[in-house]
Symmetry: none
Subunit: 409 residues, 2 copies
């Protein structure tokens, strides 16, 4: 068999639980979705536990699993993937944090954790901090969306085992980072020196002077959380011998794509929000298949509705996802194997990730087809794939694409 | 979602195989059980391999798995859990044995392995042995039900890798414990010293003098089997942040409850036998939900019928289990997640544990519901949970109860 191409579509947080208000259906069961159902009816279906049955997965750990990595061994925290997602070029061993621009008073007490939801001037502020030296440790600092930012420390003997400086509560002083193991003491020291120097740089920065003048809160401090070490991941391109590209709006997912060697495709209108242009994303994914073996298409929107607890909005988003798959369907080359799945469930009733498994459909020429007729949680449970785990998915795709290496002879 | 409470009901040895005499139905399929079926019809179902497909589980290893521990790493023998079950307060590293009071002749040959099924005076006999010193090793000894007893050795450098002293056959001398590895030599020596000293203490004990006078066999020796080391188990209360209590009649299960941090609830009429008062157990479990996050309700009876090879008796027991669930059903608070399962199959035709998987039903507000309408082996195989393993069950429950921690972000 000639090697085929792969399109992996990931609907973030799609899985759900039955809701009384939907007549005991899940949002996926309640939505009108002829295209999603068409793929399910013409493919093979099953349920996926992103990590293991009953374990609620983060989007980060789950994507690592879906790309064939064991998150239990490679994942130490969200920071490194956020940092990669905002464009910092990390190396294995770098320590990274997620951060916020915040407002502190003269005693370093946090008056506002988001500096009044600052959304302009953060790139300039970040630039003033980026490149700071803390002894032999190199500092990389980049602004993210709105008040968000990422910090990377590079140097010898660093450890991610340090506590957050973000007090997570108003009126509290920015916390001293503490070492959770003796080897992490130099890192904690560097983080605390960073907090001081960043404050020194930011407090009189022209951007903040202008903000104060305009009656806005100054972004005069950085609070940090989610320390992690950037893992040494053998790229997906080498592990599976595929040239890979991806479409994703949110920085965490973009960071994971970068970390595993998936090239980012920039799509106008792909925001990672509810306003994202799904049709543009579908067109970009189709175009990317021309020059890639694996294309990953990620849509954040269903997860947002789950977190917000909005059933009707989730149904609406699913119907837009259906239109996106309808855009793909007539234009798919015959040699493309398609997977549709989710990274985890975000039930409307839970308003957070849950350990419920998610549906998976595999579709392609010659792929075994089962009796399942619809793409939803209950139907998937009747599928011929049975119940598998996230780390199996990439192996299944690579095999159906005729790209797998035999184990044995 | 607010955290919910959990009721885990374990029907010991419930799983079975089809029997010709039941028209090729299993006892569970042949029984009239509207309440068990109600939970199955209104919940989500699947099959559980307590350990792994085709591996017959003991009640001990299976319960450890159902409580989320890996029996392959924490289990070395039944002794420690029996010892905990009869009330000995064990510490990690203690070596424990199951034992019988037996009758030996002057040459230490076993004339009766159960001392004529002695059932009175064993507490006094055990007290005479308890506290014995074997060099630096401390001896704890407690009588169990009827002729049964438990021995615990506490000291440095002990090992469970020693052979039984129980010859398991009449007319044979009590065996010398042998070390199965060099490091176990001091333990074997201590066990053999115990056998001698116990005989010395027991042979002229007033209880035995009276027995001989009454024409009964003296309980003049202890035979030992099932050596194991008491594991260092992080309690379920810490692992899952739940306050837990349990109802169980048999000492092995009570010992496992104690070992994992489940408080024992004493129920009048709960015997661990066929005569147990199941309605009283149900009422006690309901009452325990008032002050606990997790309540475990264990019923031994179906296992006994399996071991005895009595199909009709097993059906009768299942109909009593149904009445027990019928007692629970109308009284369950809305926030309780219910699991019904078994620790293993004990097929009537096998008269012992088999590797057949067991049904699992999960029921609770908002839990995904599947098309399964009955609680039995064949129906469960069609359920949306698919086929999972024993160690997954606690994770599923903790997630459905809104108590799981996200892995990742």
């Amino acid at each position: 068999m000639d090697a085929r191409r792969i399109l992996l579509v990931i609907f973030d947080g799609l899985g759900d639980r039955p809701l009384v208000e939907l007549g005991h259906k899940t949002p996926l069961e309640a939505a009108r979705k002829p295209n999603l159902d068409w793929f399910a009816a013409n493919g093979v279906n099953g349920l996926v536990d992103p990590i293991a049955p009953g374990v609620p997965a983060g989007s980060d750990t789950s994507h690592l699993a879906l790309f064939g990595y064991d998150p239990r061994t490679v994942y130490t925290g969200r920071g490194p993937f956020e940092a990669a997602g905002v464009g910092i070029d990390l190396k294995a061993g770098d320590i990274a944090f997620r951060g916020n621009f915040a407002t502190v008073d003269e005693k370093m007490r946090v008056a506002n954790r988001r500096a009044g939801r600052i959304h302009e001037g953060t790139a300039e502020l970040a630039e003033a901090i980026d490149g700071m030296k803390l002894g032999r440790i190199k500092v990389m600092f980049r602004a993210g969306t709105e008040h968000r930012a990422a910090l990377v420390l590079r140097g010898r003997g660093l450890s991610p085992k340090v506590t957050d400086t973000d007090p997570h509560e108003l009126g509290q002083e920015i916390r001293k980072a503490e070492a959770l193991e003796p080897a992490a003491k130099p890192t904690a020291k560097a983080v605390n020196a960073f907090t001081k120097q960043a404050h020194k740089i930011l407090k009189d920065h022209p951007v903040n002077r202008a903000r104060v003048k305009d009656g806005e809160l100054p972004a005069n401090a950085i609070v940090l959380r989610g320390a992690g070490v950037y893992p040494d991941l053998p790229p997906i391109t080498e592990r599976f011998h595929v040239k890979a590209a991806g479409v994703a709006g949110v920085s965490l997912i973009r960071g994971i794509f970068r970390a595993v060697g998936i090239d980012m495709i920039e799509v106008k209108g792909a925001t990672g929000g509810l306003d994202t242009d799904m049709i543009a994303k579908a067109d970009a994914a189709l175009a990317a298949l021309d020059s890639n073996d694996l294309v990953v298409l990620h849509v954040k929107a269903p997860d947002l509705c789950g977190h917000d607890g909005h059933a009707s909005e989730k149904i609406h988003v699913i119907e837009r996802l259906d239109a996106m798959m309808g855009q793909l369907k007539p234009n798919l080359p015959a040699d493309v194997v398609v997977a549709m799945t989710a990274d985890h469930s975000t039930p409307v009733a839970v308003k957070d990730h849950s350990g419920d498994p998610v549906p998976l459909t595999l579709f392609g020429e010659g792929v075994r087809v089962d009796a399942v007729l619809a793409f939803d949680e209950r139907s998937a449970a009747q599928g011929a794939l049975g119940r598998i785990c996230g780390q199996d998915v990439m192996n299944l795709l690579i095999d159906l694409a005729g790209r797998a290496e035999k184990f044995g002879a």
